[in-house]
Symmetry: C2
Subunit: 273 residues, 2 copies
């Protein structure tokens, strides 16, 4: 089935998921919406996250998609269950794939999860991990509010980010975790610095790879994978400025001159350019 | 949904998959059928593999299962598509998961696949890999008929197996592959010896881990995962002798005093003790 896959995120972080989708599912076309104008979602109320997410979803449904990927942990924590219940197409979030990868990785049975305040306060990771593995695993949670702004502002070099990352992660030092879930799709952009701070003994998990694998399974089992041989032409929408978004798609997804367009969510009815 | 998952194999090799299922899906119950009396399937005709596989499947359907796992590469190559088309429950094979794991692992783009004659001659691995990644990856195939008898006869130590494994794998030496798919569920039992022969620079892929992950995704997305807190009680059936089968379940799955029963496929109607 040659319809596109819809991917939504609060901003550019979901591009780390889109990159893995492009790598693992090279025949599939994506329409990506990044709500950059209203990013970050982490500190917003549950009601705001719900409303913003539904606006993006309704837009994608008008364009006709065959699968929805919520490439944002905060939005997954708040809306995954209701979207899965209400939409007729498969809906994939980023929390379960990250949790499964971590459970396959940990030897000590102690896992740390970092994310936005919204994701951490939702308790979605410990809940998901408990649902899969019972009580055999201990989960340590830490909200890291400074990380999304660092990424959105392109301050991800060791020089710009090390001190902030080190201070933010300090509360985790007391635990003997061997696996760290990057519970926010922005964080993989900071992965090199985070890995240096936590040390080589800790496996750092980005959910992108696992999410793309889950998508692959569902596309195949539902018989809706793309069988045509045409190269996919992804389209990216941002609710913020186009040029900085183009730059991030080029740098992170290594796509040259990507098709990036502006979309507005200012009124309750959808408009887009 | 608390129905069991059905797992079928030509013999004991599928226990390497069942072990991963027990680890990753600790709340799910399995009914395993190993057709030890007619193992190996590798050198059999397509018609025989079809008929034997359907006998096991019909038996499992009578007992009521919520998902079927074909934990045998030969049977997957021959019957996966027709089983997926004809059964009302999800059917999972072991070939696609192994192919996906290998594609995520390879850097050089050269993958070697070893398996039974039936699996290798079917071309199922190169076909699956091409369907996912187009023409960007080279696949080298080698049938290894001596390996299943080694495993079924418990001759898997370095002393017993090294020379045979080394000679059998010699044709692969001419290729620069960096990833080796164990395209037969018996082979993970020989993994230590195989790894020693091919060297540390080659990633050796067992499909069990990936298969269990695929099952997890489907159980979740179809809403049929087990929600009860009772510990699962797996049942194992063998068409061969019970005692050697008990011994293998105990050794490979580290289950003490497993429930192993005999089943007969001698007549066309199903009988089991």
């Amino acid at each position: 089935m040659n319809l596109p896959i819809g991917v939504i995120d609060s901003g550019v972080g979901g591009l780390t998921v889109a990159k893995e989708v492009a790598r693992q599912l090279p025949k599939e076309t994506m329409i990506y919406i990044g709500d950059t104008a209203r990013c970050p979602y982490g500190p917003r109320t549950v009601e705001e996250v719900r409303r913003f997410t539904w606006q993006m979803v309704e837009q994608l449904l008008q364009w006709d998609i065959k699968m929805l990927v919520i490439a944002c942990n905060t939005a997954t924590a708040v809306t995954l269950e209701e979207l899965q219940a209400q939409l007729d197409i498969p809906v994939v979030g980023v929390i379960r794939p990250g949790a499964i990868a971590a459970l396959n990785e940990t030897s000590s049975g102690e896992i740390a999860v970092i994310g936005t305040e919204g994701t951490i306060h939702s308790g979605a990771y410990p809940e998901t991990i408990r649902a899969i593995q019972g009580e055999q695993v201990t989960v340590h949670n830490l909200a890291c509010p400074p990380f999304v702004p660092l990424v959105e502002q392109n301050r991800t070099s060791k020089q710009d980010a090390y001190k902030i990352v080190e201070e933010t992660l300090r509360p985790l030092q007391q635990y003997r975790y061997d696996t760290l879930i990057l519970g926010c799709t922005h964080y993989p952009i900071l992965k090199a610095v985070i890995q240096e701070v936590v040390g080589g003994g800790v496996s750092v998990i980005s959910s992108g790879q696992e999410t793309a694998r889950e998508m692959s399974t569902i596309l195949q089992h539902n018989g809706i994978h793309n069988r045509s041989e045409e190269a996919p032409a992804h389209i990216f929408y941002t609710s913020g400025e186009v040029l900085p978004f183009v730059e991030k798609v080029e740098r992170w997804m290594t796509i040259t001159t990507p098709d990036v367009r502006q979309i507005s969510f200012l009124s309750s009815t959808m408009n887009h350019d």
